[in-house]
């Protein structure tokens, strides 16, 4: 399910950043680390369970200093359906980075960030002169200069073959990362094949996929059969392997079934991840219904694989100038690691709605979610809120275009995240140091967050544009404590945070 589009990052409150644009989906939360957004949480899942892929191969979380470290568009794939082919699945869903060709020369500069994408060769370099860092208040860190380099070359030696070489490199503190990918794709109407190999930090990966489509067979309009594999070999001689197979059958003109199973092998563990989805469209009403179920095993090197079983029902409504989706989901989680043992369990359920309507020069987007997510250390233990439980989210955007001007406003509201309150302190008389006395796990909740974003864009011809995106917030992000834990101090977002961007495209 694709939710992010190139134009989304031009909406208020996104600061022209694709990572922030992802938060338009009420299922996705940019999780702050030390006050700065640094990772994704999807529904209630921990960010460590969210996998990010670049051209089909896993890469680290590409968010640094609250900004995305990638070029191109980013898609969101749920834990059912299309996720089978993408290596070791996270139990939360997958983020897929799709590379793109930079078009000419582009410079994007804001008070917080700057980037440079150079062409016409398909190579991009993005660097930040300074990055935001949250202490008790927002400051600009001028000592850190993360750099991201992406490259992509496509060559079509014949009508059916495409050869691709792509690379992604990150130079950040404290971690550098690089991935190089070579891919060959064969594509006819009925047959498709992909063979790809990649080298990364001390790992060597391969990915292969074949598919064949039959038409008018066995009473079906179409039957597509797919199968593939993934392997990872590391310098320390450890090996992970996975194989998958699935079918996509169009039962009638307006009904489709997809299903399959993926098997992952890690050391002596074998995890099976089955999934199935059934969808139907009612042509006259332009309403489609789909239901999907999946069971995903999170492969982890050190512990028993965490499991997530998810059931999702979706209603999609498409009309002229209107696109809306309504989801209801239930997720059961088990084998969650607690104190080094895979005894934890959890559940999450909720409803989500997203609707976009175009009326003349107006674009209106409304999204919201009601959700509840809990965890327990073991089956017989008491439930507590999950770390990323957000019971209520509301997002309303209105944008108006006239000529070269675009004005927009966005109102966001969301429940605060749970936290474990500190109830006291232990003073160590030998070391003259204090450590916190933690209260009940995730028993506290940060206050309700609300944010108003105002944005204006102006374009001069096709080569130059500028935007001002102002966030009005000032809310409590979390808490910190004095050195002896005698005082609890609020960490607040800036009351006014302006982002001024100038984008040149030659």
């Amino acid at each position: 399910v694709r939710i992010a589009h190139a134009d989304d990052s031009a909406l208020p409150g996104t600061f022209s950043d694709p990572a922030h644009a992802l938060e338009l989906d009420p299922a996705i939360e940019l999780v702050p680390v030390a006050g700065v957004p640094s990772a994704f949480a999807i529904r209630d899942a921990d960010p460590s369970r969210v996998k990010l892929y670049f051209d089909g191969f896993e890469v680290p979380a590409l968010v640094y200093g609250g900004r995305a470290l990638w070029f191109g568009q980013l898609s969101h794939v749920r834990t059912f359906g299309d996720g089978m082919d993408l290596g070791y699945a996270g139990t939360a869903g997958l983020e897929v980075v799709t590379d793109r060709r930079p078009e000419g020369f582009e410079l994007d500069a804001t008070p917080m960030d700057s980037s440079l994408v150079a062409g016409p060769y398909p190579t991009g370099v993005r660097g930040a002169f300074f990055t935001p860092a949250m202490q008790r208040e927002l400051t600009l860190d001028t000592s850190s200069h993360p750099i991201n380099v992406q490259e992509r070359l496509d060559w079509k030696p014949s009508a059916h073959w495409t050869l691709t070489a792509s690379a992604l490199a990150l130079v950040t503190t404290p971690q550098d990362f690089a991935r190089i990918i070579a891919k060959a794709a064969y594509d006819t109407r009925a047959n498709n094949a992909v063979l790809a190999a990649s080298i990364s930090d001390h790992t060597y990966d391969t990915r292969a996929e074949v598919s064949h489509e039959l038409r008018d067979v066995g009473g079906l309009s179409s039957l597509a059969v797919r199968a593939g594999e993934t392997t990872t070999i590391r310098d320390d001689n450890t090996f992970d392997g996975g194989a998958w197979a699935g079918v996509a059958a169009i039962l009638a003109k307006s009904a489709m079934f997809t299903g399959g199973v993926r098997a992952d092998v890690f050391d002596r563990q074998v995890s099976l991840s089955p999934r199935a989805a059934l969808g139907a469209m009612f042509g006259a009403t332009r309403v489609s219904l789909s239901a999907a179920a999946s069971r995903i095993a999170q492969v982890d090197r050190d512990v028993t694989p965490e499991r997530a079983t998810e059931v999702v029902a979706r209603v999609t409504r498409k009309r002229r100038n209107l696109y809306a989706t309504y989801d209801a989901y239930y997720i059961d989680r088990s084998r969650i690691v607690v104190d080094g043992k895979a005894t934890g369990v959890g559940t999450a359920y909720g409803v989500e709605a997203r609707a976009q309507k175009l009326v003349g020069p107006w674009t209106v987007y409304v999204a919201g979610s009601l959700a509840r997510a809990t965890r327990a250390d073991r089956l017989t233990a008491a439930d507590h809120a999950a770390d990323h439980d957000v019971p209520l989210r509301v997002d309303v955007i209105a944008s108006w275009v006239s000529g070269d001007w675009r004005l927009g406003a966005r109102l966001q509201g969301r429940s605060g995240l749970p936290y474990t309150p500190v109830t006291g302190a232990v003073y160590d008389a030998d070391t003259d140091s204090y450590s916190p006395l933690d209260g009940k796990l995730d028993a506290g909740r940060a206050p309700w967050r609300r944010q108003l974003d105002l944005r204006v864009d102006h374009r001069w011809g096709t080569h130059l544009r500028a935007y001002l995106d102002v966030a009005l917030d000032g809310g409590v992000l979390g808490y910190t404590y004095s050195y002896d834990y005698s005082q609890r101090l609020e960490v607040r977002a800036p009351i006014v945070l302006p982002w001024l961007g100038i984008v040149g495209n030659l």
């Binding site: 500190v422 109830t423 006291g424 302190a425 232990v426 003073y427 160590d428 008389a429 030998d430 003259d432 006395l437 404590y481 834990y485 005698s486 005082q487 609890r488």
Partner: protein, 151 residues
């Protein structure tokens, strides 16, 4: 734990009791003595617990308090300091030892260094106590509390 004459005494279990608790007797046994204070004097978060690790089977003595100087001279039993002036408190300890100065009047600067200084302003309390705590690198501790006032 026994309290007598204003001091606390930890009575160690004998060898058979330690063995019954499942500890091996091939080395010192660490016992964390934790005291809980339900209401701090000026703390927003309560309680505060104070932990002291006692090693049973490894006898050791607390160090002697090293020589202290106040404004360059040894202090008497009652310390008098001038108003609105920096007054230096100093001692000397071996590497790895820690020094903490505490006061209930004025403001102490560099209070976790061997040499600290105190400044008492007119708006501050004019009478109280000052203390020096010295910790060696073996878990030993020595301290002394002096009455202090301005003149």
């Amino acid at each position: 734990m026994l309290q007598k004459d204003g001091a606390w005494t930890l009575v160690a279990p004998d060898a058979s009791q330690i063995a019954a608790m499942g500890y091996a007797l091939d080395g010192p046994v660490a016992v964390d003595v934790v005291m809980t204070f339900a209401h701090g004097t000026d703390r927003a978060l309560d309680p505060i617990q104070v932990k002291k690790t006692v090693w049973i089977g490894e006898p050791s003595t607390n160090p002697d308090l090293p020589a202290i100087t106040v404004a360059g001279a040894p202090p008497g039993e009652d310390i008098a300091v001038p108003l609105d002036q920096d007054v230096y408190f100093a001692t000397s300890v071996p590497d790895g030892w820690r020094v903490n100065w505490l006061t209930s009047i004025g403001t102490l600067y560099q209070d976790d260094e061997p040499t600290s200084y105190l400044h008492v302003a007119k708006k501050d309390r004019q009478q109280g106590e000052v203390a020096c705590v010295v910790r060696d690198d073996q878990g030993g501790v020595a301290w002394k509390v002096w009455p202090i006032h301005t003149q």
